[in-house]
C-alpha cells in the first residue's frame, strides 16, 4: 500500500543535537495512536540546510516545512495536519527559501538549478497554438521594434546585450547584425541555421518543436534590424516534427498578419521559407549551408568575403543559429541590461546544453553562462551513475575537447572552454567515467568527423583519415613509438590549415586527450588499456578460486571459447578463440570473470 504522506525529518548532525530523534519517536507514537501507520511514513534524511532552525521537517506532497519542532508539537501536527489536512501554521516556515527547499526535496534538482530563458516556453505552451505563444508576450517584441525602435537601435540593443552566436563560435551577434545592416544593396537575407548535426545535441530541435514562434519572431526582428524581407530556415530533414511545427507556426503567423506583407500594419514585410538539409554535417558551416541553400554542393568556401557582405545568392546575409534567434525577443522585451545580468561579463545570457553519457539525468539543460561544469554534471545532472568516478567531460560535440576532473570548477563560457582546448560548440556535453578509454574515445569522434569531411581541402580530407589510421593502430595495440608525435603534428597542421570550422576543430578530441590523458596513449603503445575498453589489448580470465562450475558462461559464450564441466570447476577461456565480447563476465553470478591485460 502506498503512503499518503511522507514526513521527512532531518537527521543531520545539527538537528540530531536539537533532539530530532525525540521528535521522530513522538511523531511515530502519535501516528500509531491515530491509526495512520499505513498512510503516513516517516523518513529520516540528511542535512536539509537551515541548521539554525532545527529540528526541521518536511511533509510531502504538501510541501509544508516545519521548524523548531519539539516532541510536544507531535500530537498537534498529527491531529491537525496528517489527519485533517490543516498544516500547523505556527510551526511553518514560510519564507521563499523554505518553499524552495520544500520544493527541491523530492524533486529532481534537474530543473531547480536551471535558468530558462530560451526554453522558457518549451514544455509549457502548445507549440501549435499561436495564441498560447502570444499569451507569453509572443510577438510583443516584434511589435515593439516595429513601432518604437529604429533598425539601428535594434542592432545596438542586441550589441549592448553582449549576445554571442550560440552555434558555437560565439561571434558577437549585434556586431554581425551591424555588418549586414551596413552592407550596401537593397536585397538582403536572414537565414536561420537549424542544421543541428552534432550527435547527441538537440537544443535547436527542442526549441523549434516546443516554441517555433520564438525563432520566427527572432528572425523577423533581425530582418527589421538588417533590412531584409526574406528569410530561410535551413533545417535537417531528420527533424520532421520540427519542420511540421515550424510550418504550422509560419502559416498561423501569416494568417494573423504577424509575418508576410505589412506586418502589424507597420509597412514592414518579411517572409520565411523552410528548406530541408540532406544530412551533411558540414552544412552546419555557414558558407556550406549557403551553398546548399543555393542548390549547389554543400561545400564551404574561404572567408572573407563573409556572408554579411556576400552571402546567399551573393547578397548580404545574416546567418544565426536557432538558439541565438531564440534569445532575441527576450532581450528586446527585457532590455540589454537584464540580459547582461545573467551569465558572465564576456558571455552574457544562458546556454542550453545537451547532457549525455555517464550521468544520471540526461537531457537538455539551460543554465546561466558561468555555471561550473561541476554544478552542471553533479547537481543538475545528478552525478555519475553506480557511484563511479568522473573521468572527463567532452564539450562541444564531435570536434570538442575532453576536460578532466581537475577543471570541474571551471565556469563555462566561450573563452574558458577554449583555454582548456575544447569549445562551446552547439552545447553538447558527454560525461565519461573510468570505463571510458580516452584513446578509443578520440578515435570514435575522429571517425565521425573524417566521414563527414566534405573532401574539398586536403588537410581535413586526408589529414583526418591519417590521424584516424594512427589512432586505430594504437587501439589495436600496433602503435609505433613516434605515433603520439605524429598525431600532435598532424593535429596542429589540420587545425591551422583547414578551410572551414570542421577541419579546424576536428583534431580537438585527439589533442585534448593527448594533453590531459597522454599517459593512456603511452600505455596503449605498450599494450595496455586501463579502461579495458580496447578489445585488442585485453583478455578475459576465469578466476579458478571464484569459479563454481555453474556452466552459465559456457552456455552464454557465442563462440564456444569456454571449456568446463558443470559442477567441476574451474572453467577456462581459450584466449585465441575468445572474441572478448564480455558476455561471460555479464552472466557470471560469482564475479569470477576478470579482464586482464592481453600481454
Amino acid at each position: 500500500m502506498r503512503t499518503r504522506l511522507d514526513v521527512l525529518i532531518c537527521a543531520g548532525a545539527a538537528c540530531l543535537s536539537a533532539h530530532s530523534a525525540a521528535v521522530r519517536d513522538a511523531l511515530a507514537r502519535e501516528i500509531e495512536a491515530h491509526g495512520l501507520s499505513d498512510e503516513v511514513r516517516i523518513v529520516e534524511t540528511g542535512c536539509m540546510g537551515p541548521c539554525e532552525l532545527g529540528p526541521v521537517m518536511l511533509v510531502y506532497p504538501d510541501g509544508a516545512f516545519y521548524i523548531h519542532v519539539t516532541p510536544e508539537d507531535a500530537a498537534e501536527i498529527v491531529e491537525e495536519h496528517f489527519l485533517k489536512g490543516r498544516p500547523v501554521e505556527r510551526l511553518l516556515w514560510t519564507t521563499p527559501e523554505a518553499r524552495r527547499i520544500a520544493e527541491q526535496r523530492k524533486q529532481v534538482p534537474f530543473f531547480a538549478k536551471q535558468r530558462k530563458v530560451v526554453l522558457k516556453n518549451c514544455g509549457l505552451i502548445d507549440p501549435e497554438n499561436i495564441e498560447e505563444y502570444i499569451a507569453t508576450d509572443g510577438y510583443a517584441a516584434l511589435g515593439k521594434v516595429l513601432t518604437e525602435m529604429t533598425p539601428t537601435a535594434v542592432a545596438e540593443t542586441i550589441a549592448a546585450s553582449g549576445l554571442r552566436g550560440r552555434g558555437g563560435a560565439g561571434f558577437p551577434t549585434g556586431k554581425k547584425w551591424g555588418f549586414v545592416a551596413g552592407a550596401p544593396g537593397p536585397e538582403k537575407y536572414v537565414v536561420c541555421n537549424a542544421d543541428e548535426g552534432d550527435p547527441g545535441a538537440f537544443m535547436d530541435r527542442a526549441l523549434l518543436e516546443g516554441d517555433p514562434h520564438a525563432v520566427l519572431e527572432g528572425m523577423a526582428i533581425a530582418a527589421y534590424a538588417v533590412g531584409a524581407n526574406h528569410g530561410y530556415i535551413y533545417v535537417r530533414a531528420e527533424y520532421p516534427l520540427a519542420i511540421n511545427r515550424v510550418e504550422a507556426a509560419l502559416a498561423a503567423a501569416h494568417r494573423m498578419g504577424l509575418l508576410g506583407n505589412n506586418i502589424m500594419e507597420t509597412g514592414f514585410s518579411f517572409d520565411i521559407e523552410v528548406r530541408m538539409g540532406a544530412g551533411a554535417f558540414v552544412c552546419g558551416e555557414e558558407t556550406a549551408l549557403i551553398a546548399s541553400l543555393e542548390g549547389h554542393r554543400g561545400q564551404p568556401r574561404p572567408r572573407p568575403p563573409y556572408p554579411a557582405v556576400e552571402g546567399l545568392f551573393g547578397k548580404p546575409t545574416l546567418i544565426n543559429n536557432v538558439e541565438t534567434f531564440g534569445n532575441v525577443r527576450h532581450i528586446i522585451l527585457n532590455g540589454a541590461d537584464w540580459f547582461r545580468s545573467i551569465g558572465t561579463e564576456s558571455s552574457p545570457g544562458t546556454k542550453v546544453f545537451a547532457l549525455s553519457g555517464k550521468v544520471v539525468n540526461t537531457g537538455l539543460v539551460e543554465v546561466p553562462m558561468g555555471t561550473t561544469l561541476r554544478e552542471l554534471i553533479f547537481e543538475i545532472g545528478g552525478g555519475i551513475p553506480d557511484g563511479k568516478e568522473f573521468k572527463a567531460v567532452q564539450t562541444g560535440g564531435p570536434s570538442g575537447g575532453c576536460i578532466p576532473a581537475e577543471y570541474l570548477d571551471t565556469p563555462i563560457d566561450y573563452e574558458s572552454l577554449q583555454e582548456l582546448g575544447s569549445i562551446m560548440g552547439s552545447g553538447g556535453m558527454i560525461v565519461m567515467d573510468a570505463d571510458n578509454c580516452m584513446v578509443n574515445l578520440a578515435r570514435f569522434f575522429l571517425e565521425f568527423t573524417a566521414n563527414e569531411s566534405c573532401g574539398k581541402c586536403i588537410p581535413c580530407r586526408v589529414g583526418l583519415p591519417a590521424m584516424l589510421e594512427i589512432l586505430q593502430r594504437i587501439t589495436r595495440g600496433d602503435g609505433r613509438a613516434d605515433d603520439i608525435d605524429k598525431l600532435e603534428r598532424l593535429g596542429k597542421t589540420i587545425k591551422t590549415a583547414s578551410l572551414c570550422g570542421l577541419g579546424q576543430t576536428a583534431p580537438n578530441p585527439v589533442l585534448s586527450t593527448l594533453r590531459y590523458f597522454r599517459d593512456e596513449y603511452e600505455e596503449h603503445l605498450v599494450g595496455r588499456c586501463r579502461a579495458k575498453e580496447c578489445t585488442a589489448l585485453i583478455r578475459y580470465w576465469i578466476d579458478p578460486e571464484a569459479c563454481r562450475g555453474c556452466d552459465q558462461c559456457r552456455r552464454a559464450c557465442p563462440v564456444g571459447a569456454i571449456a568446463g564441466t558443470p559442477g567441476n570447476p574451474p572453467y577456462a577461456i581459450d584466449a585465441e578463440a575468445c572474441v572478448r565480447c564480455g558476455t561471460c563476465r555479464e552472466v557470471c553470478p560469482f564475479g569470477a570473470v576478470e579482464i586482464l591485460d592481453r600481454r
Partner: protein, 120 residues
Amino acid sequence: MNLEQLRKIRERAAKELNLRSGKARVKVIVGMGTSGIAAGARDVLAAFLDEIGKRELTDIIVTQSGERGLASSEPVVEVHLEGKPTVVYGHVTPELARRIVSEHLVNGNPVTDHVIEVRE
C-alpha cells in the same frame, strides 16, 4: 492585425493559460517533442483522453507542448490544478496516465512516486 489587436489576444490567451477562464479546472500538458514521442508520449496522450472521456470529466483540458529537457525521464506530463502547485510527472505510461486521472485529477492526490518536479 495591429498592436492593439495583438494585445487583446494576449490578454485573452493569458487568462486561458492561467486556467482562469471558462469551466476548466485542470490542465494536462503532455510533452510531445521528438524525445517524448519516441518514448511513447502518443500512447500517453491517448490514454489521458480515453480515461477522461470514459469518466465524462468536462473540466479538464488536455494539451501538448514541446520537450522540457529531461530526456531521460520522457514521456513527461505536467498537471495544473487550479490553486495548486504544478506537478510534473516523468516516465509516464498509459497505465500511469489513467492513475493520474483517477488519483490526481479526480481526487487531488498526486501520484508521488512519479513526480519529478513541483512548481508554484
